[in-house]
Structure formats: structure tokens, C-alpha cells
Amino acid sequence: MENIKSFSFKRILLLMQKTLYENAKSVSIGLITVFGFFSFILIMSALKDAGAWDKLQAFYYVGLFIAGFFISGMAFSNFRNKEKTMSWLTLPASISEKLISEWLLTTIIYIIAYSAIFYAFNLIVFLIGDVFNFEVNFINIFTKETLILFLHYIIIQSILLAGAATFKKVPLFFTISSLFIIGLIISFYLTILALGIKGQFEVFQFNGNGIQSNNFNYDLQNHWLIKVPKIMYYYVTAPVFWIYTYFKIKEKEA
């Protein structure tokens, strides 16, 4: 017993292996759904325009977020029932190892698996195009923009992971509802902010650099009111929710 390390990468791999084996059915359904999603999009677009595959990059992004959120909502699935919680909590691995394994599965492994399916599909379409003599370009997903999108996914996913560790039933619904409420509060804050700047009420929208309406565009890019939330979003959100998730697991009882 003396030589058991408090942190081990091997145990993280074992945890991931255990999760994948025990949820093989759900994982297979997920993979088939993603493959089906791309097939559906391809068929629909082919009916409209044979060369539309090239434009399907956008669907890769949409699918990445939608499927990723569903998968993240299913993280910590053992917490949905008391008996499973008990066996998960007593499994010899540290809290951080358990958190990292769930995080890896729902971010890195998920992104790799999802992209692999997309590329496999891309290759199949490319080969079919080659055989039947119609031009299909091989889509390169790994651009700078995609990497930034992955970053956005990881940041938003941290909130869903925290939700999965918090809500016992239908965590995805409760997390998205919570996010919706937070979104409303931010919108309200921006409206009040713009009201203070312009002095009259209008429907404003936030465009990332400033606040905009039909006849008004206020560039706040260098203003602290925009800078601080941006820094908070990129550097603080994910770590805060990961720490929150860690403590949620730590305090869990069965």
C-alpha cells in the first residue's frame, strides 16, 4: 500500500478505459449519430448543389459544439444514481485524476474522434468524387480559426462539465438554462452600459469589440469594460469552472 502515488497518468488512462468500456453502447450510438449527421448534410446539400461539400466546413463547427455539449452533459454519468456514485467515489483514483479523465474524454478525445470521423467522411466523399469524376476538394479543418474555435469549445465546455457535476438530473438542460439566464444578465448589463454611454434606451448588440445598434456603433475594444470581460472569458472562466468541478466532486456524498 505504501507505494501508491497520489497522482498517476496510468490511472487516468485506466479511468478513461473504464468509462469507454462501460459506456460502449452510448459511445457507439454517438459515433454513428455523428457519421449520420454528416451523411444527412451531404445528401441534403448534394440534392441542392453537387459541389456543396466544400461549404460544409461550417457544419463541422456546428456539429462539434452541439455533439460536444451533449457529450459533456453526459460526463460524470455515475452521479445520476446513488449506487453508481458509490462505486465511482470508492474507485482507487484521486479526485483530480477522475476530473482530468472526464475532461480529456469530453474535450481532447472527443475533438480527435469527431475530427477523425469528419476526415474519414471527407476521404470517402473525395474517393467517390474521384471514381465518378466530380470534383471534391479535401477540406482542411486545422486552420487558425478552427484552433480558436476549439479554445471557445473548451472554455464553454468547462461550464457544462461543472453543470454535469452539479445537477443530478438532466444536467445539460439545467446548465443551458443557467447559461441562458447568465446571458440575459450580460445583455441587461450591456444595455445599461450603452444607456449610460448614449443616454437613451435602444436595443443594443454586442459584437465582440463594442456595442452596436442600427444607428449607433460604439467601439469599446480598448475600454476596460470590454478588456476585463474578455480577459475573464479567455483566462479565468475555464480554470474557475474546473476548480469548481473539482470541489463539487470532492464534496460529493453517496
Binding site: 501508491i4 468500456y21 482507487p92 483514483a93 464534496e251
Partner: protein, 276 residues
């Protein structure tokens, strides 16, 4: 070794289940944690396993706090709960994905235990009956070879032959550096394997004695009448009275666990007083 000091716990802040509870469980022994339904047995086991956090007081498992759930402390025990859910994988896959977490896991023994219980290793765990699942978990728990094995109502759902296999396996698996805790309200089922009786009543440890102490102080007899002042507790039967009697002459008798238990939880128990 398990050490519980001044444990206070309740599921709600104002409701107290354990108040200043103290208990020490030592290696090399099989403890029978007995108590009526709702006496707090499962809650106590969960405290030992670190599944519940005490309101105050400490629980120590080999000098470590189980509530910290470090890999070291988690690998030092295996808990077989009364209610459990098994995944939709077969025995071999479960072994492949779970056994590596227990450094001392004995695969050969595991398959021997399963064979003894006549469990089909190709069957998926979620398709097994409750009793089969229980036998599977008992086999896994014993093969995990942890210093502490916690079992909550292990004989629930087992048929009569399996109960006797369970008793045989438990007795043979014990060694001087191991500690088994068997919690049950079916006292008869664990007769002959436990060597210390711990009785929990309304969240309090009302009795904690090794069998040798019990034998030294008590005698279990069938009597025609119970006029003798040494009779501490008696239950009327067809052939007379089953009685717990003060052992005044170093007399050896078979300990009737069920009778002992009833004598302990009786109001103003004279048996409990005999040990105080």
C-alpha cells in the same frame, strides 16, 4: 485498522444519528456489525468508506482520513454495498477495467471464487440476477485483497448453499493483516464466522465484544425454568427457554448469535450491563 473518534453525524443538521460515537476495529478479525433496520449500520459503513462527511469527529483508516479519497486510502478497502448497479459488460471486461486499480488483486483466486459460486463469466453483469451480482461482487471484493473489506448485508439475495460458501470463503480469506466488517440484520447468516460482535442501536454502539469475552462471561442454554438469578435473558420456545445465562463456572457453550443480539437490544439489557 479503523479508528472512529467522537463522530457526530446526521443527514440533516438538526437530526443527529451518531453522537460522540467511538469505535476501534483491529486487523486479524471479522467484525459482525449487527443492528435492526434503520439503526445506522449502512451510514456507519459509509463513514468508514469516506462516502459521507462527519459533522465533527474523525474517522481514520490506517491513520488516513477516508473522506480525503486519496488513491492510497481507496485502494486499502473494498466495499460491497447492499444496493449496487453493475455495468453492461461481462466479467472479463470488468476485471480488465477495474482490477488494475487494486494493486494486490488476485486474478486466479477471483476465478476460483466465481467457480465456487457457479457464476458464468461470459454473462453480462447487468443481465445477472441480484443474487448472482452479489456473488460476483463478493468474489471481486475478496480477490481485491485489500486490508479492509466492508460488506453491507452480504447474504441478502443469496440462496442457502451460497450463504454457506460465503461463510467458508470469508473465513478462509482472513489473515492477520486483514480486517473484515460484515454488517447485517440477518444475524444467523454470519454465525460461526465473526469473531467480534458490534451492536449498533439508534446510532450508538451498545455492545462491542470479542467472542472469547462473550464465552467467558455468558452461557447459552435451554432451560425448563428461568427462576435462576443468573439468567440474564430468555425467550420461550417449544422445549423450554432459550436463555443467556451468567457464566459462573467457566462453562463452554455454543454462542447463539441471534439470542445474543436479542438480549443486547432488549430494554434495560442485563447482558449489556454484564460487560460494563
Amino acid at each position: 485498522m479503523v479508528e472512529i473518534n467522537n463522530l457526530n453525524f446526521g443527514y440533516k443538521k438538526k437530526e443527529t444519528l451518531f453522537s460522540e460515537l467511538n469505535l476501534e476495529l483491529k486487523e486479524g478479525r471479522i467484525y459482525g456489525l449487527l443492528g435492526k433496520n434503520g439503526s445506522g449500520k449502512t451510514t456507519l459503513l459509509k463513514q468508514i468508506a469516506g462516502l459521507l462527511h462527519p459533522q465533527s469527529g474523525t474517522v481514520l483508516l490506517n491513520d488516513e482520513i477516508p473522506q480525503k479519497r486519496t488513491p492510497k486510502v481507496l485502494a486499502s478497502y473494498y466495499m460491497i454495498p447492499e444496493e449496487f448497479e453493475t455495468p453492461g459488460i461481462n466479467v472479463k471486461t470488468f476485471l480488465k477495467v477495474t482490477a488494475p486499480f487494486y494493486p494486490g488483486f488476485k486474478t486466479k483466486e477471483f476465478y476460483e471464487y466465481l467457480e465456487e459460486f457457479k457464476i458464468d463469466t461470459k454473462q453480462k453483469l447487468n443481465k445477472m440476477s441480484y443474487g448472482q451480482k452479489k456473488k460476483f461482487l463478493i468474489s471481486f471484493g475478496m480477490a481485491a485483497d485489500t486490508p479492509l473489506l466492508i460488506t453491507d448485508e452480504p447474504t441478502n439475495g443469496l440462496d442457502i448453499p451460497s450463504k454457506s460458501i460465503f461463510r467458508k470463503l470469508m473465513a478462509s480469506a482472513l489473515s492477520e493483516n486483514k480486517l473484515f466488517v460484515i454488517s447485517t440484520h440477518q444475524v444467523k447468516d454470519i454465525e460461526g464466522i465473526i469473531d467480534t460482535v458490534v451492536v449498533l442501536e439508534d446510532g450508538k454502539i451498545v455492545f462491542n465484544q470479542a467472542l472469547e469475552n462473550i464465552s467467558d462471561k455468558l452461557c447459552f442454554k435451554t432451560l425448563k425454568s428461568i427462576d435462576d438469578e443468573n439468567v440474564l435473558y430468555a425467550e420461550k420456545g417449544i422445549t423450554g427457554y432459550s436463555a443467556v445465562v451468567r457464566n459462573t463456572g467457566e462453562e463452554a457453550s455454543h454462542i447463539n448469535t441471534e439470542l445474543l443480539f436479542n438480549s443486547i437490544i432488549a430494554k434495560d439489557s442485563k447482558v449489556v450491563n454484564e460487560f460494563n
